[in-house]
């Protein structure tokens, strides 16, 4: 339904904004990494909303492909970020 599409899109943008705010303002490392993941989720929701083609129609596969790629990238990037963060905190135990 049309309102569902807009709901997805708007909440996607909201998540994006919230994640951005947190990533920029939170000094703690783990929070920053999570915030970027939240941003990612926001973008994915936006893309899912874009994939909607109308009632009863199959959704557009291309944005879905983008989402899947994005998820893979986000997972790998988060893994790398966490590994680096762990390396940092191992030397200075706080956080």
């Amino acid at each position: 339904m049309l309102t569902t599409q807009w709901l997805y899109a708007l909440s996607g943008c909201l998540l994006l904004a919230l994640g951005l705010r947190s990533a920029l303002l939170h000094p703690a490392l783990l929070q920053r990494i999570l915030a970027i993941n939240v941003m990612g989720s926001g973008v994915f929701m936006l893309l899912i909303a874009i994939a909607y083609r109308g009632p009863g129609m199959p959704p557009d596969p291309i944005p879905h492909a983008l989402v899947l790629t994005g998820i893979v990238v986000a997972v790998s990037a988060t893994a790398l970020a966490l590994a680096l963060a762990r390396r940092l905190t191992r030397e200075q135990p706080h956080d």
Binding site: L16, L20, A23, L29, R32, I33, I36, M39, G40, V43, L46, L47, I50, I62, P63, A65, L66, T69, G70, V73, S76, A77, L80, A81, L84, A85, R87, L88, E91
Partner: protein, 478 residues
């Protein structure tokens, strides 16, 4: 000729996987594949020069669903630069990393970086661009963190987070474009994009994301620590190639895809930021205490020059004048790529011999490491923009376009930036000529010195003297 397109992506990717699986032959593998990739890049350049822009659809899937590889004059020239710089840095790295375990970690990541660079330049659609941009970012971060030292890991993590932020914004822009125009193919988008809120937001988001990745002032804060703490060959490639890739994307977006959307005001904004980069970066380079930080800030400054071209290109009507100016821009990018890579490699040699890269303690280096000092001097000439470097020709075009369009501010910025660059380069060279004894052992390793020397010679002599071909190639390849 389309084989070259595929080879440029397939070769480094295959080599990366093989290097991971067979670490013992990895070094030889890298050198061989490096030669093969360089040969493919030359073949591609030759093909583009004779036949114009090249195009290949993977698997026969047409644009819209499939992945298209595209090469025109600009990407072919940049691909050759990437191949030569990466190959030289590979030779250097084979000697730089003494331990086999270090090399085993290094080579797969290095080759993945090469794959990402090549694939990015050959991508014909936004989807592919996003993927290769991420691959580039991840491998660059991993390489930057390789030494494992605290400063390096911290800088690398910051680089990663900033890069991810940039990619997110880029992806949102891609999503918006798809929502508006139902296509991701660059060529198609160039035809259909019209001014409007979708195009505007997409352009802003994508540009902002890419500016983060290309470290344009004031978004440059992550670059000096990251490039300053990475191992020498990694710094070389990060400064010379990785940031250039993001810049290349900005160029493509502004000159091709969004050509009808961009306004002089927006271009002026980029120009102002570029001016800030030139002045701030040069000033910080002058104050730097370490050679690597100096070189990193110099990269910030030199990228600023590239952005100065935007208001100029937009002020010139499309035609021969704009093409000449674009050629100047490409010359600057090329020369900087070679010069900065050579500089970082040479600094790496100094750092390895002395255990540090403090500028104050460089006395007498020229006597102990003459070839390395000469490489630094050549790189310096190219960074300042003195003849016979390619930068001289590029800056000439910059000043010429600025005067022709009446935008004198950029002339002043270029002049001040060049003089500041002279100040920080000759600060190093002055120490090098000094009479203080250089206390460190100065065994020259040919595999390290010659790549640095050849890269800087290319920047300062070859590009300066044979530069006319760049313009011809750009024209033939369009």
């Amino acid at each position: 000729m389309t084989d070259a397109l595929i080879a440029l992506v397939a070769l480094p990717l295959t080599a990366a996987l093989l290097a991971l699986l067979l670490p013992r032959i990895a070094t030889a593998l890298v050198i061989f594949s490096g030669l093969a990739i360089t040969a493919s890049a030359i073949a591609l350049l030759y093909g583009v020069n004779t036949a114009g822009a090249l195009h290949y659809e993977l698997g026969g899937w047409t644009a819209g669903l499939g992945i298209a590889l595209r090469a025109d004059g600009l990407s072919a020239i940049l691909l050759l630069m990437i191949a030569l710089v990466m190959f030289a840095a590979s030779v250097y790295a084979s000697a730089y990393f003494g331990k086999a375990s270090e090399r085993a970690q290094f080579w797969p990541l290095w080759l993945l970086l090469w794959t990402a660079l090549n694939a990015l330049l050959l991508s014909g659609d936004l989807f592919n661009l996003y993927v290769t941009l991420e691959l580039l970012g991840l491998s660059a971060v991993a390489l930057a963190a390789l030494s494992g030292k605290h400063a390096a890991v911290q800088a690398a993590l910051r680089y990663l987070l900033v890069g991810l932020l940039g990619s997110m914004l880029f992806l949102v822009g891609v999503a918006l474009l798809y929502a508006g125009y139902a296509t991701l193919d660059l060529a198609t988008l160039t035809q259909v994009v019209k001014p409007g809120p979708i195009a505007w937001s997409a352009l802003t988001l994508m540009t902002f994301g890419l500016l983060l990745k290309t470290a344009l002032f004031p978004l440059h804060f992550w670059l000096p620590p990251a490039h300053g703490s990475a191992p020498a060959p990694v710094s070389a490639v990060l400064s010379a190639l990785v940031v250039k890739a993001a810049f290349y994307l900005v160029l493509r977006l502004w000159l091709d895809v969004f050509a009808d959307i961009v306004t002089p005001t927006a271009a002026n904004l980029l120009g102002v930021l570029g001016a800030g980069a030139v002045l701030w970066g040069s000033w910080q380079a002058l104050r730097a205490e370490r050679l690597k930080l100096l070189a990193a800030y110099s990269t910030v400054a030199q990228l600023g020059y590239l952005f100065l071209f935007f208001p100029l290109l937009l002020a010139l009507p499309p035609g021969p004048a704009r093409d000449v100016a674009t050629g100047g821009l490409v010359m600057l990018a090329l020369t900087h790529g070679f010069a900065k890579a050579g500089l970082f490699l040479a600094i790496g040699i100094v750092q390895q011999r002395s255990g540090h890269d403090n500028i104050q303690e460089l006395g007498g280096m020229v006597q102990r490491l003459p070839l390395t000092t000469f490489a630094i001097a050549l790189a310096g000439v190219a960074l300042i923009g003195l003849p016979p470097s390619g930068t001289f020709l590029g800056k000439w075009q910059l000043i010429s376009a600025a005067i022709a369009t009446g935008q004198w501010l950029w002339v002043a910025v270029t002049a001040i930036g060049s003089l500041l660059a002279a100040a920080y380069i000759f600060r190093i060279l002055g120490h090098a000529f000094g009479n203080q004894p250089y206390p460190h052992q100065a065994v020259a390793v040919a595999r390290e010195e010659w790549p640095a020397l050849l890269l800087t010679l290319t920047a300062t002599l070859v590009l300066g003297l044979a530069g006319a071909h760049v313009w011809t190639l750009l024209e033939n390849g369009s």
